[in-house]
């Protein structure tokens, strides 16, 4: 009977679950940092970047003697961008003795996790959860910029440097990050004297063919195309725009980071003149150059902003723990490390950051311009 087979399988799995919890419970011999993010599925590249950046930081910290003498252990679980799986993963990490949570890589999952982290009272520092609600609780902090902030920064930059006045936008309607930036950008644009001449959307079901959107924009008098989207879709747009012979200025947010790697050596000319707002530049200073070299040696890939966020998150936790001088297992570990967050300054790969009590980082956004695949800081003409 099939059912017997099924019941046996179910019984076996339940035993595994119990076995799993047998060895749990937090021993305080290690400082356990737990992360959740997409490691498989359409968005896997972001989760993997954060995980690898964080891994690199953990390796460096452990080689230098850990945090306050305690070795760091990084556990990273897959959530496939699903809120339910993220909460399951978070709970598994708690079983495994997580001391500090990296929240989740994507906003939706991070909001679901933040609810649980708040109940547990542990520090939650998300590397890349950019929606406002990700850090709605007092224990929540983030490394990256918030979505509305980026929209404002983008408008401010375009107006202050007089880059262009007539703007077209292509954004991802099915993505919260893209929508969040676009909405703020559109609402503040008039204040900065910018005119939105065309708004073109796409969704995750039709994110490869942009010929119609580009044709429509080509028919307007837009001077600049704003792309508040991720690098992968931008790679499609830039190559298609190039093959259509479009000569608009392209401008992106921090999601554009990693575009040179994504677009591949064959198409790199399509990124010439692309501007984007980013706190992360692989060659910004010595620290970033070293990080980029180490990352490349370890993973055979050029780090993107997500990797930088993951790396910085680990060092931020280290700085907070050292500032508060606490170790996992100490009486007020959670309270002290959370309190320390607003008192520290971290010089990370994504800029020098300080945090206010609302959890958002204070850091400078730079605009870079690409030429032959190399990013240089933007200088007003």
């Amino acid at each position: 009977m099939k059912k017997i087979f099924a019941i046996a399988l179910a019984a076996m799995m339940i035993t595994v679950m119990f076995a799993g919890c047998g060895n749990s419970g937090s021993d305080d011999a290690s400082f356990v940092i737990g992360g959740v993010g997409p490691l498989t599925g359409d968005y896997a590249t972001y989760g993997i970047s954060v995980k690898q950046g964080a891994e690199l930081a953990v390796k460096e910290i452990n080689e230098a003697g850990g945090i306050n003498g305690v070795p760091v252990e990084l556990l990273f679980e897959d959530d496939q961008v699903d809120a339910e799986m993220a909460v399951n993963a978070y709970n598994k990490l708690m079983d495994d003795g997580m001391d500090v949570s990296l929240g989740a890589v994507t906003s939706g999952a991070c909001i679901a996790v933040s609810e649980k982290a708040n109940e547990d009272g542990i520090l939650m520092l998300t590397p890349s959860g950019s929606q406002v609600e990700c850090i709605q609780y007092p224990n929540g902090f983030r490394i990256c910029f918030g979505d509305p902030e980026q929209g404002v920064n983008a408008a401010k930059f375009l107006a202050n440097n007089n880059v262009a006045k007539k703007i077209a936008i292509i954004y991802d309607k099915s993505n919260d990050y893209s929508n969040g930036i676009k909405e703020t950008f559109v609402s503040v644009a008039p204040e900065y004297g910018l005119e939105i001449v065309s708004e073109q959307a796409f969704t995750n079901q039709s994110n490869t063919d942009f010929s119609v959107q580009l044709q429509t924009i080509a028919g307007t008098d837009a001077e600049l195309i704003f792309l508040p989207i991720y690098a992968q879709e931008a790679a499609y747009i830039l190559t298609q725009a190039q093959s259509m012979g479009m000569e608009h200025i392209f401008f992106g947010g921090d999601g554009m980071d990693g575009i040179v790697e994504k677009i591949g050596a064959d198409n790199v000319s399509a990124t010439d003149g692309l501007l984007f707002l980013t706190p992360f530049d692989t060659q910004a200073d010595e620290q970033n150059i070293k990080f980029t070299a180490d990352y490349q040696a370890a993973y055979n890939a050029i780090p993107d902003q997500f990797a930088g966020d993951g790396y910085d998150a680990i060092y931020t936790i280290k700085a907070a723990a050292e500032h508060a001088n606490v170790k996992p297992g100490d009486a007020d570990f959670n309270e002290k490390i959370i309190a320390a967050m607003t008192e520290i300054t971290v010089d990370g790969t994504t800029g020098t950051m300080t945090w206010s009590a609302d959890g958002a980082p204070e850091k400078a956004a730079a605009v870079v311009v690409l030429q032959d695949g190399v990013a240089t800081p933007y200088t007003a003409k």
């Binding site: 498989t40 993997i48 010929s211 119609v212 790679a235 259509m244 012979g245």
Partner: protein, 292 residues
């Protein structure tokens, strides 16, 4: 007007890729009476075969296209042998679930081998944009359009004139009767999978050259859309799959241009529903006579 024409042409090019994939779907459905959900992922495998042989092994484009076709044919036939053949007597849903399993398997295997980032597709076909007055047509789109039309014409001749093609039609009409007439059903099904997979390899090639990037999950969305196209045209009918695919691409692009980019997915599906309301077996599907 120019605007309309260029939207139409890009829609035709997108639609012809859908049509190529839908052909594979519909042939397998017509002959093996199963929905091969893994068909979309064969496209991804084909495209990765081209990437590997051109970018990593440095082979010539023609050779790598051949390698890609061979890879897909071998893959398609082995999937059929290993996963679908033992289930030939099972209910169609059991086969469907197995096909979904195969699809997940191919995706996760590609994720393990190639990683999660999308790889840029080598520029095998390089043709500059053509300008006809105000009208600009991307070179790749034109090539896609021309070659897929040729393939579809070839397929029609093959199915209608050749002996194997006739055998395929016979098996799809009535499997038992075909067997009694001396047609080997197993062999016909194997050939169908081989042809379907070869078409998928070609679709993968055009997908890659038109859009430029391939990742482990690239095949799933075109796969679903091609499935929609196949049903749209009447599943099991080859001209239907071609018509359905092309119409789907054109409707998708026209609704993006003239109605709403936000709602274009919903519009495509709404048109599909309306068509099926009026013609419940798709545009060119045969009316099924129900017997007691």
């Amino acid at each position: 007007m120019m605007d309309f024409l260029s939207t139409l042409i890009s829609g035709l090019s997108l639609g012809s890729i859908y049509a190529l994939i839908a052909l594979g779907y519909t042939m397998v459905y017509g002959i093996a009476k199963m929905l091969n959900f893994a068909h979309g992922d064969v496209i991804m495998v084909g495209a990765f075969a081209v990437i590997t042989s051109v970018s990593m092994l440095g082979l010539s484009p023609v050779l790598s296209i051949l390698i890609s076709i061979v890879c897909c044919v071998v893959l398609g036939v082995s999937i059929e042998r290993i996963a679908y053949k033992p289930l030939r007597k099972s209910p169609p849903l059991a086969v469907l679930i197995t096909a979904i399993g195969v699809s997940y398997f191919l995706q996760s295997l590609a994720l393990l081998i190639f990683g999660s980032t999308q790889h840029s597709f080598p520029k095998i076909i390089n043709m500059p944009a053509i300008e006809l007055g105000e009208l600009t047509i991307r070179g790749n789109m034109l090539i896609t359009l021309v070659i897929t039309t040729a393939i579809m014409a070839g397929m029609s001749i093959f199915i209608n004139k050749s002996k194997t093609g006739k055998a395929m039609r016979a098996v799809s009409e009535d499997r038992d009767a075909a067997e009694l007439m001396g047609i080997s059903v197993n062999r016909t099904i194997t050939i169908t999978f081989a042809i379907g997979s070869a078409l998928a390899a070609v679709a993968g090639l055009f997908y890659g050259t038109t859009y430029g990037f391939i990742g482990p999950y690239t095949g799933s969305m075109p796969g679903i859309k091609a499935f929609v196209a196949a049903v749209f045209g009447g599943i099991g009918s080859m001209p239907g799959a071609m018509l359905g695919g092309i119409l789907l691409g054109v409707i998708e692009n026209l609704s993006k241009r003239y109605i709403s980019t936000e709602l274009s997915d919903a519009i495509v599906f709404a048109v599909l529903i309306i068509v099926l309301m009026v013609k419940p077996t798709g545009l060119l599907g045969k009316k099924i006579n129900e017997k007691v």
